[in-house]
Symmetry: C2
Subunit: 152 residues, 2 copies
């Protein structure tokens, strides 16, 4: 089960993932969902800390790439190249970040580039929503690099 | 000493600041510098986790605003409205984030708006540098709101 695997991997390798208690809760054709309790991620106003929101959203795109690579048994290094975040409304409860699966053509394009050029990059959108409202929106550019290749 | 005060405040109120072991190391007319050891902020590749970099950079702008408000004894709530980050090079050592002081005219404009309109917002730049090289660049828009006012 890939979500369990990635949780074990991240919890082991990334101390802040442990501190945030963030977990991939689902991965399917619709995309990936991560969640984390509010308490370890709170700021001085009792709402989610901007850095925690940036972290869980960055991780959501990273997790989507990681899980797609795993699914296709493609070995590649993953990095985030850039990101932009809009904080619309404070988050007062458990944090849930959703990174929707891109269109099939985009996924195929990403993997074709990775196969043909040894590297690929794409922009993923994600958001934090509570009760049907969007609290935070995120766009991140992620690059995947096959062993022996250099960054795009 | 304002840096000591803000460190005590953040360490007390923001669990992730404790987990990251991030501290304001200086604040003067040139701006604010924050730093954090690599170990608690590391990713699966042994370099700084993107979420930790986003957090320390977001905090650097927030700290600059907070310390300016303290210096002038102005009471206001501070929020980050949006941010953009470019990850140029991995960070292999202790993380240092610098948010330079804006021009005098920008600082005066910010405080004039806060006095006259009860709220103000501005864009701050910050970066993570190691050994003279820029690893990560950041732009964040911060808003300050005096008690009794609503968000800009």
């Amino acid at each position: 089960m890939p979500a369990a695997e990635i949780n074990a991997y991240l919890t082991h390798h990334v101390p802040l993932v442990r501190a945030m208690n963030v977990r991939v809760s689902s991965f399917d054709a619709r995309g990936v969902t991560l969640s984390a309790p509010l308490a370890p991620n709170v700021n001085d106003k009792g709402t989610a800390f901007g850095g925690a929101l940036a972290s869980i959203l960055s991780l959501s795109g990273w997790a989507l790439c990681y899980l797609l690579l795993e699914e296709r048994s493609v070995e590649a290094d993953l990095v985030i190249a850039e990101s932009a975040i809009q904080y619309h409304k404070p988050v007062h409860e458990r944090i849930t970040a959703i990174c929707p699966m891109p269109e099939v053509a985009a996924v195929e394009g990403f993997f074709n580039s990775l196969r043909d050029r040894g590297k690929a990059s794409w922009v993923l959108n994600a958001e934090v929503k509570t009760g049907g409202e969007t609290n935070v929106t995120f766009r991140g550019r992620y690059a995947a690099i096959r062993p022996g290749n250099i960054l795009p």
